[in-house]
Amino acid sequence: MNDKAKIPVGQEAIEKFGWLRAHRFLLLRRASQIFFLFLFLMGPWLGIWWVKGNLSGSLTLGVLPLTDPFIALQSMLAGHWPELTALIGALIVGVAYALIGGRVYCSWVCPINPVTDGAHWLHEKLGLQKGWQPKSGTRYWVLAMVFVVSTLTGTIAWELVNPISMLNRGLIFGMGFAWAWVLAVFLFDLFVSRRGWCGHLCPVGTFYGLLGTKSLLRISAARRADCDDCMDCFAVCPEMQVITPALRGTSEDTPLILAPDCTNCGRCIDVCAMDVFEFTHRFDDTPAPGREGRTRSQPASRASRAA
């Protein structure tokens, strides 16, 4: 860590590249989240029925069926074999996310992401303690729990509580008291556990993460030799543990962030004043020398977690 770590996160990048460029992926992401919500709202609001349904299942232009593969899988475990339409829809969605990165769903589509991002922003503003931090394996236990309960009860179990569908469906079909669920996630992330929901518990994100384990689209710390330890990328990354192996690797280690937890949000690209990160593909083997005098035996992640 050096003195630069004390400057507000992203400040240097803003001064160097301008505000717009230092927020481009954040802005694109918000635009994408709004876009995917708007597609569904065009019908009920404007009477333009290009897309019908919601994130759980939809029909676009009367021909393209899409189904949430996580829900389809729970349905099968619950003992129902879906009709072909739903299966094709799940396959399309599954293959798409397997290629572009499962957790692209999290950062570019999921309507809960702005909620938990908002909670995190306020969390930082208020300077709160990070609170309860579940172990890194917890989200896999939650995922397993959902599958077990679906199987044993014969229901699509997670849909009984899933705040994502509650919010998405609520906005498109009518909210009821679903807002309370969303508020609960917000408050949980704000006061109980920093980045608790998306970073540690949500089984949907975990499922998509697993789906994208071998995805093509990846972030690379290509110019890691230029890193000046400002720690800004660690501060903005919702899954900061994924950065260390790539950024702090030696010349032999790949600069690609291959951890499935990375959401491909691109915020690390935004805030880095040294322009270390970039989007690339998994087979990119452009040499990326590590920094001299730095090895992986000195991970910065623990220190930065307090940041």
């Binding site: 029925w49 019908k52 349904g53 919601n54 759980s56 299942g57 939809s58 029909l59 069926p65 189904t67 949430d68 829900i71 389809a72 349905s75 619950a78 003992g79 129902h80 074999w81 879906p82 009709e83 339409t85 739903a86 829809g89 579940p134 172990k135 394996g137 917890t138 236990w141 939650v142 397993a144 729990m145 959902v146 077990v148 309960v149 044993l152 009860t153 014969g154 229901t155 699509i156 179990a157 849909e159 009984l160 509580v161 569908s165 509650m166 469906r169 609520g170 498109i172 079909f173 009518g174 909210m175 009821g176 008291f177 679903a178 309370a180 669920w181 000195q298 991970p299 623990r302 220190a303």
Partner: protein, 287 residues
């Protein structure tokens, strides 16, 4: 760097096991909560009617992904997705309330066609075969027809008129010289569309209501024999009805309380008759 790294391996393992145990226990508790909710979700309120072709409730909760495509393709805005804390059915699942908007029984059944998962069974190709529920004339004290008036509205609006619902004539005991045209639902033909419930002219609730099959229908009493439908003997050769000949203790009106020897059917029998069937252990004297 951190303290944990310097500890011996055994400590690491112990810590790992503890953490795992904690994680598993936490998930088990959460899982039980979720399983409780899943059970709870099955309690579909009586007046929430599932769309045509919907699988039985347990299977429906395993198959409906709550996409609302059935809702979107219903031309009459009959269906809606249950909202959390407002509507009774499991959150996000489609249903309708007959008194608000009934199902119009579209010939092409667009809701079933729209369903991508089969939660609405594609096997339903004739809307007349739908079994969303069954109408029951639930308040016979206020139904105008039951009072002897001629309202007939529920009967007239029924898309399966004269099959699903008929007007059954009976004597009006109150006036003494009028008829009562009782609206009578025939469950094997009623689709549960709810048109009758919707149109019942009574203010507030309807006198005729669509109820789910599980509430409205019982199982037939198969252990009773309906003699007017099936005239074959219950057990061949064993009990041979009618076998009651006049005799002591019978309710024979020709010779109350007993028999008269001159009324014997067969003069060759002395001092009485013996029934063709004798209960075991009664020594042949029982009557």
């Amino acid at each position: 760097m951190s303290a944990a790294n310097r500890k011996p391996k055994a400590m690491d393992r112990r810590r790992f096991l503890q953490d795992s145990a904690r994680g598993i226990a936490g998930c088990a508790v959460a899982g039980m909560g979720l399983a409780y909710l899943a059970r709870d979700a099955r309690a579909l309120p009586a007046q929430a009617i599932r769309p045509p072709g919907a699988l039985a409730e347990n299977d429906f909760l395993a198959s409906c992904i709550r996409c609302g495509l059935c809702v979107r393709d219903c031309p009459y805005d009959t269906l809606k997705l249950a909202e959390l804390g407002v509507d009774g059915p499991a959150t996000g699942t489609p249903f309708f309330t007959a008194r608000d908007i009934p199902c119009e029984m579209c010939d092409d059944i667009p809701c079933v066609a729209a369903c991508p998962t089969g939660a609405l069974d594609k096997g339903l190709d004739n809307i007349d075969d739908a079994k969303m529920g069954v109408a029951v004339l639930i308040d016979q004290e206020n139904c105008l027809n039951a009072l002897g008036l001629r309202c007939d509205v529920c009967y007239r609006v029924c898309p399966v008129i004269d099959e699903a619902i008929t007007l059954e004539l009976s004597h009006n005991d109150r006036s003494g010289h009028h008829a009562i045209f009782m609206p009578t639902v025939h469950a094997d033909k009623c689709t549960g569309c709810g048109k009758c419930e919707k149109s019942c002219v009574l203010p507030g609730e309807a006198a005729i209501k669509v109820l789910p099959m599980r509430i409205a229908r019982t199982e037939a009493a198969d252990h009773y024999k309906l003699g007017w439908e099936d005239r074959n003997p219950l057990v061949d050769e064993l009990i041979d009805l009618p076998d009651r000949l006049p005799g002591p203790g019978t309710d024979n009106l020709v010779a109350p309380g007993g028999y008269t020897p001159d009324a014997l059917p067969d003069p060759s029998m002395e001092g009485g008759f013996s029934p063709s069937f004798q209960l075991p252990g009664t020594g042949g004297t029982g009557q």
